[in-house]
């Protein structure tokens, strides 16, 4: 019987160089797995694989050496532990995330909650080519937002609240972009230099800043055969619903305009960044 490799690949079974062996990619969201899931993965790797797993470059787990004949039993066993196969091929891939503000002191947004939301919204959606989302919580960029087709970086927009300021001077030094100057007891923020890292607010002993947590979104990143740093169109998006509308618009643009096998960056280059920028601004201002 002919083996339908495309369907297997779509279902996360990656053909190995060893005949009839597959490396099963699992569905992982935002890099998190529960202990129960991990125990089940270990069990399946022992029973159906060769006893090891591989951690992929994009936060997934693969169980190699799964035999073709065992595929259904493997899926059933994994389902028992709340684990699903992932995807490969021309569709929305694993949504990656750092730990974000739920865990990390530097985090500006809840990256995991957002990863889950994007995963539910888009996971495995069929597209002309692969499409990767990555979410990082702050300017430290542990998750490398700009290497994704659509990267999201958390940020904090700040406004000094004089009434609570004790004039300690910590913020001026905490700022890495020299956007803060203290003159005669007044704090002057050069908005053109602010990168929304939120370090002034996080270091401030009295948190004398009004803050808005938001998103910096980059488009067209690549880090494979070709390398390209994704670029932002809107400096800072405050509203999450607006962010989701912009993600919808980007995916729609890709679905409508991309040639089969063409990554987002090359669609933007071919169709014209201006056209895409107009669409994103229309959604943002709409």
């Amino acid at each position: 019987m002919a083996v339908d490799y495309a369907t297997l690949k779509k279902g996360g079974f990656m053909r190995q160089k060893q005949k009839n062996n597959f490396s099963l990619r699992l569905r992982v969201v935002g890099g998190n797995l529960t202990a129960v899931q991990l125990a089940k993965i270990a069990e399946v790797a022992e029973k159906f694989g060769d006893g090891h797993v591989h951690l992929t470059s994009r936060q997934s787990v693969e169980i190699p050496f799964i035999k073709l004949d065992d595929i259904d039993r493997v899926k059933a066993a994994l389902a028992d532990g709340g684990v699903e196969p992932g995807v490969c091929g021309p569709r929305v891939r694993t949504v990656t995330a750092c730990q974000g503000e739920a865990i990390c002191p530097s985090g500006c947004i809840d990256t995991y909650a957002l990863a889950k939301e994007l995963d539910e919204r888009y996971f495995a959606r069929e597209l002309p080519h692969k499409f990767k989302f990555g979410i990082t919580g702050c300017q430290n960029n542990c998750l490398k937002a700009e290497e994704n087709d659509l990267g999201i970086k958390g940020g904090i927009k700040i406004k000094w609240r004089e009434s609570d300021c004790i004039n300690c001077g910590v913020c001026e030094k905490a700022c890495r972009t020299n956007a803060i100057e203290i003159k005669d007891g007044k704090i002057i923020v050069d908005e053109s230099k602010c990168n929304f890292c939120g370090r002034c607010y996080k270091a401030c002993p009295t948190e004398a800043w009004d803050t808005v947590h938001g998103y910096i979104v980059s488009f067209g990143g690549l880090f494979g055969n070709s390398i390209n740093k994704g670029e932002a169109i809107i400096p800072f998006i405050e509203d999450k619903e607006k962010l989701l509308e912009i993600c919808d618009a980007a995916i729609e643009f890709f679905a409508e305009n991309a040639n089969p096998g063409e990554r987002f960056k090359f669609t933007l280059d071919r169709v014209g960044k201006d056209k895409f920028t107009d669409k994103i601004l229309e959604v943002y201002n709409g």
Partner: protein, 83 residues
């Protein structure tokens, strides 16, 4: 040491160590103090002054002032807040 308007109970110099020992040294010095006492922490410009104040804040202590000693070092005035 810069001219201070605070009643300093103890001093610690963390200019001779690097991250993460900078914070650890300051933290240990704070542990020696009683609640409400004041510590002056002398640190280098750059990474220490960018990060140590925030780490001390996150430990729950109260930062009162950061003084530029004009010699490439800063002195952070911290009031110990007990558990």
């Amino acid at each position: 040491m810069a001219d201070l308007d605070f009643n300093i109970d103890d001093n610690v110099d963390i200019t001779d160590v690097v991250c993460p020992t900078t914070f650890v040294k300051a933290k240990v010095a704070l542990e020696e103090l009683d609640d409400g006492q004041i510590l002056a922490v002398k640190m280098n410009d750059g990474e220490p002054v960018q990060n140590v104040p925030r780490s001390i804040k996150e430990e729950g202590h109260q930062i009162l002032k950061l003084i530029n000693n004009e010699d490439g070092t800063y002195t952070l005035i911290v009031k110990k807040v007990g558990d």
